[in-house]
Amino acid sequence: MNIHEYQAKEIFKKYNVPTPNGYIAFSEEEAVQNAQKLGGNIWVVKAQIHAGGRGLGGGVKLARSLAEVRTLASEILGMTLVTHQTGSAGKLVHKVYIEEGVDIADELYLGIALDRAKEMPVIIASREGGMEIEKVAHTSPDKIIKIAIDPFIGFQPYHGRELAFGLGLAKEEMSSFIQFASNLYKAYIEKDAELIEINPLVKTKSGNFVALDGKIGFDDNALFRHPEIEAMRDLTEENLAEREASQHGLSYVKLDGNVGCMVNGAGLAMGTMDTINHLGGTPANFLDVGGSANAQTVATGFKIILKDHNVKSIFVNIFGGIVRCDRIANGILEATKLVNVDVPVIVRLDGTNAVEAAEILKNANIKNIIIATDLNDGAKKAVAAANGDIL
């Protein structure tokens, strides 16, 4: 689960990771009030969406007067912000963060992520703040410092020294930077974060380290023990259909093609999409109905897939293991009674009792249900049906 910059900074504050002062605003009026509350004579108006690259996309602007805060807030609120992470459709901005200006002397990068190979968190730091870390990693990998932290010992002072010396910090800056990194690591562990990025982490002209930006992604599996994080969920950032699917225990991702897919298991679901692509078709979605495909999950799956009007055919590809295929076949028949399915449905059931299942579907004699013998046959038929071929 992802959160906004302003929410990430709330968490930073609780862990004594310094951030500029700021307040969230939902209207230009509120934006001006926030700026007044902050005082000073320079503010930053920042669009709050779940994507990076906001500055380049025109979603982060400097204001030098309250009038300018008002103008910029009204421009940014309600704009559709397109960045390299939003896709071409962009994201609608519902709120802006009003932050005090900071005197920047230097910009660094600091992040914490899971190193899958080492199976422990790794702190990543670079002097090239403000740049995309992927680009830095590509062009000058020697400028990136990576320190893995064994969770059994946690963040130790020597980890901090490795970072500080690696970044070439001045002697008098070391202890405050080490404290910064140590506090951030504590937040990462205690909140079950998957990824934290501060880009840029700035050194102010008065020599303090401040998180000018903040991104946190959390481990969904650990949300059960973090109701305070769950409460930060912003539903407007989530795709409606994907959300509805997850409420029913299905995993759905909308794509741009016209062959709807309903599959059990994430790997087979991806494999089904790959097969459709390979045969010249385009999948309309990824949909994993999970381990227990029954009438209810199949019916919900049909409903969600059919909300996408690009869908011209549906490929139901189920490998029945513990759940027997004859039961799934009956589930599919029942589901077609619950939902009006008006496109060809190609059904491939394999595994336990597959023969009986094919018999059940055949005897039901439903016009738009077409039986496939295996994965390839099913994908072929689904692609043909989506192209308007009569099967």
């Binding site: 899958r116 190979a117 992604g217 023990r225 298991g265 087979l268 790959d274």
Partner: protein, 290 residues
């Protein structure tokens, strides 16, 4: 021969009396797996599925001589269960549970390694040695005995490929679902080494997917250590790029974890890489009949 488990392997079930644990333990018993008991704290001294129930793993191990545990406890308790098994001298823990927090698994895996206990999973279908022993939730009937070793991140793709392999007239020696979580137990390299050393296994089917770089690591291991033919499929060539906020996870390994990248790395070391999962069975036949 086979790898890791066979007809003599003694297994206990952690989370034995729960709904999932009960159902699948019964299926495993029906397959012939030597389940010698189970652990459910507070129910020690009772009997379930005609097997003894223990309060702790150590008492279960002492009484039964079990060497493998199959874990069905809920996600919040997985790490605890795995560490308890490691402490009790279990040699292999097969973790079926889906949804264990990553932080917990870091600790559990590290502790298991320290204690010399192997783990499989979490979030996986388990392991099966065809015709001998099934420790997991896979449909046993599709795994006919034979000479193909199978390693897969995905559950249903394990079934799909085992089914195709068997329909081509071949069979499975041992199949292992390693799970697709960020922190997993035995991985490609460990299992490739075991299959290479297993006299019964003639060829290996390897199923991977997008994310991480385990398949890339496996490729460099294959180059220098594996002589048996490998047939591989990587799921997710057509998957859109994840809705990740940043790519800090990927820069650690210097790889983006795409299917294309993994397929190229495997093909470069002589692995027979197929484009779709529908081609696995025929490719196995083609490679072995050469």
């Amino acid at each position: 021969m086979s790898i890791l488990i066979n007809k003599d392997t003694k297994v206990i079930v952690q989370g034995f009396t729960g709904k999932e644990g009960s159902f699948h333990a019964e299926q495993c018993l029906a397959y012939g797996t030597k389940i010698v008991g189970g652990v459910t704290p507070g129910k020690g001294g009772t009997t379930h599925l005609e097997k003894p129930v223990f309060d702790t793993v150590s008492s279960a191990v002492k009484a039964t001589g079990a060497t493998v545990s199959m874990v069905f406890v809920p996600p919040a308790f997985v790490a605890d269960a795995v560490m308890e098994a490691a402490d009790a001298g279990i040699e292999l823990s097969v973790i079926i549970t889906e949804g264990a927090p990553i932080r917990d698994m870091q600790l559990a895996k590290a502790y298991a390694t320290k204690k010399g206990m192997k783990t499989i999973g979490p979030n996986c279908p388990g392991i099966i040695t065809a015709g001998e022993c099934k420790i997991g939730i896979m449909p046993g009937a599709i795994f006919k005995k034979g000479n193909i070793g199978l390693i897969s991140k995905s559950g249903t793709l394990t079934y799909e490929s085992a089914n195709q392999v068997c329909q081509e007239g071949f069979g499975i020696s041992t199949a292992v679902g390693i799970g697709g979580d960020p922190i997993i137990g035995l991985s490609y390299i460990d299992l490739l080494a075991l299959f290479e050393a297993d006299a019964e296994t003639e060829a290996i089917v390897m199923i991977g997917e997008i994310g991480g770089d385990l398949e890339i690591q496996a490729a460099s291991y294959i180059k220098t250590h594996i002589t048996k033919p490998i047939i591989a499929f990587i799921a997710g060539q057509s998957a859109p790029e994840g809705k990740r906020m940043g790519h800090a996870g990927a820069i650690i390994s210097g790889s983006a974890g795409t299917a294309t990248e993994k397929m190229a790395a495997l093909a470069a070391v002589g692995v027979h890489v197929v484009q779709t999962p529908a081609q696995i069975g025929t490719k196995v036949a083609e490679v072995l009949k050469k």
